[in-house]
């Protein structure tokens, strides 16, 4: 299927020495042609599962497409965008998503850095700790949402039990029912689940730093905190920024955590949850597509930043 046509599976090896210049260009032309043939199946599939559905979504955003209406959708211009724009629930979901992204990624970066620095020092049991740190990353998001949902249970949850025992609170709290508290709960789960990713990327960056720098800093009598801010942080800035943008992109499109963990009242929704609710629960495919397109635009902006930063980070490293 993916075997490009016109490519002999085997060629008879000819004992020619270095090919003369004329055939070099012929050879490279043949290579370029085979490159496109090699890419063709992937490009076709990506066009089918990414390009086409994306274009259709953009088109739906300008139509009155509705799942309960069998008629072909009619073009209605910017009406859907106007409706979404005027919907306070949409803006609540935007605030929720940005708040979630900002706090989660900040906490993940700080915590990830602390754990990466810990793992970067030599001590007994380092392998065990690194394995332990990977566990939350391996657990499916829905499963972690459910595990934490149970821990946050208002009456029987272990978190309320612990807080009561320690005297932080004097009555159990309904963590996932109250929109303000459920945001804290969602952030707690996301931080727990994705800090390992941050840790791994930061650790990889830390391990590339040359030892001599630290020896020099030690000879200069710099304390560990000074060394961190004056030597370590500037040197890993590139990879760190890339990791942060990567996490931001991921957090902006958050769906499952909010869907599983919160009660999905209009006060506790992410942008993706809002868009899907319009599309499938309210059957307003066009409205949902408009909301999804707006989220896409926001993420596209961040992607451009990522690509620019990512390339400069690579060039710095090269």
């Amino acid at each position: 299927m993916s075997v490009p046509s016109g490519m002999p599976a085997t060629t008879t090896p000819t004992a020619t020495p270095a090919p003369p210049p004329a055939s070099v260009s012929q050879l490279s032309r043949q290579r370029v042609r085979s490159a496109w043939l090699f890419l063709l199946p992937t490009l076709v599939v990506l066009g089918m599962v990414a390009g086409w559905p994306l274009l259709r979504t953009f088109w739906f955003a300008f139509t009155n497409a509705n799942l309960s209406n069998p008629e072909p959708p009619q073009f209605i211009g910017l009406e859907n965008f106007a409706t979404v724009w005027d919907d306070p629930d949409w803006w609540q979901s935007v605030r929720n998503t940005f708040f979630f992204t900002g706090i989660s990624v900040t906490l993940e970066t700080v915590l990830g850095m602390m754990i990466a620095l810990t793992l970067n020092t030599r001590f007994r049991g380092r392998g065990v700790l690194r394995a332990a740190v990977l566990v939350p990353w391996a657990i499916p998001t829905v499963v972690s949402a459910r595990m934490w949902g149970w821990m946050f249970h208002d009456v029987y949850g272990v978190i309320n039990a612990m807080f009561l025992h320690l005297g932080f609170i004097d009555a159990p709290i309904a963590w996932t029912a109250d929109p303000r508290l459920s945001m804290a709960a969602v952030i707690a789960v996301d931080v727990w689940k994705t800090t390992p990713f941050m840790t791994l990327l930061l650790l990889a960056a830390l391990q590339m730093l040359p030892d001599e720098l630290y020896e020099a800093a030690k000879l200069d009598g710099a304390g560990p905190i000074r060394v961190f801010f004056k030597v370590t942080l500037p040197l890993i800035r590139g990879p760190m920024l890339v990791a942060i943008i990567f996490r931001v992109l991921d957090a902006m499109r958050v769906f499952d955590l909010f869907y599983v963990l919160t009660t999905n009242s209009s006060e506790s929704m992410s942008m993706a949850v809002y868009a899907r609710q319009q599309m499938f629960e309210f059957q307003e495919l066009g409205l949902g597509a408009a909301a999804a397109s707006m989220l896409f635009a926001v993420i596209a902006m961040f992607t451009v930043v990522y690509l620019v930063l990512g390339r400069s980070a690579v060039e710095e490293a090269a």
Partner: protein, 278 residues
């Protein structure tokens, strides 16, 4: 004095390690503990159940179509990985080893696709799935999962492909080998470790996917594990079978943890290749 300070520093460091380990492992530990409790025991907070009840693990298969859900997840995730790797090897060879006009924009485009918010293609994909007659079937999920596994596998394999020595290729070209032969017979065997890493990461991504699985399947029998666990409910709305849910969660998680621990080092290199070397 100095000795005491050093000892104090070590103790603080040890404490830090213990705190990190407890923080990362506690929720999973608590899920295991809760999965061994039934009835009123669930509502008591104790470090280990006095009478561990293993029934939840059996009940999740008899009261719920969980065996079927597991089977669905295995089938979907495996087919997605096989198709993705199959397509990605040649694409990565072209992108990693051949210089041609338009290569950089193509790479950036593939990277951009992997950053797509899935919600942005959801309605278009829904239409495609229905048009192909795949609604509420597993191939609908296989098809839609290629959206994120294929760009990822192409991207990571390309970075691995680039690191292979140039001399091998030159020798093969001297022998008159075609690009197809070079890709399949010279490079593919060398890429085996990379294929394992990439395949595993793609498998985990497909295994965990929720949005498409929730939207493109309807019946309990067609659900994958994450959707089944998310929608698992009890006799009434207010009575959630937490013991069952935790048992199901543990069943899904243990194989993943084992795999991740076995392939630890490789996973780290795969993740960094996928994210940072951009």
């Amino acid at each position: 004095m100095r000795k005491a300070l050093r000892w104090l520093g070590r103790a603080a460091f040890g404490l830090l390690v213990v705190v990190i380990t407890a923080y990362t492992l506690f929720p999973f530990y608590w899920a295991v503990v809760s999965s061994l409790k039934q009835g009123s025991a669930l509502f008591e907070v104790e470090a280990w159940p006095r009478n561990p009840a293993w029934q939840n693990y059996a009940l999740v298969f008899t009261e719920q179509p969980f065996g079927r859900n597991l089977f669905n997840s295995v089938i979907v995730a495996s087919t997605v990985v096989i198709i993705s790797l199959f397509l990605a090897v040649t694409a990565a060879f072209a992108l990693g080893r051949i210089r041609f006009f338009g290569r950089t924009p193509l790479m950036l485009m593939i990277l951009a696709v992997s950053m797509f918010p899935q919600i942005a293609v959801l309605s278009g994909m829904f239409e495609l799935v229905r048009w192909l007659g795949l609604y509420n079937t597993l191939p609908a999920l296989t098809l839609s999962y290629l959206l994120f596994t294929l760009p990822f596998t192409v991207w990571v394999l390309t970075t691995f492909m680039r690191e292979l020595p140039k001399e091998l290729e030159e020798a093969a070209v001297m022998d008159g080998a075609s690009p197809w032969v070079i890709c399949m017979h010279v490079f593919l065997p060398l890429l085996k470790p990379a294929l394992v890493t990439t395949g595993l990461l793609a498998f985990i991504a497909a295994w965990n996917e929720f949005l498409f699985a929730l939207t493109f399947t309807l019946s309990q029998e067609a659900r994958t594990v994450p959707v089944a666990i998310a929608l698992m409910s009890g006799a009434s709305q207010y009575e959630l079978p937490w013991g069952l849910i935790m048992a199901a969660s543990v069943i899904v998680t243990v194989p993943l943890i084992v795999l991740v621990l076995i392939f630890q080092r490789r996973i780290v290199s795969g993740l960094t290749a996928g994210a940072v070397k951009g």
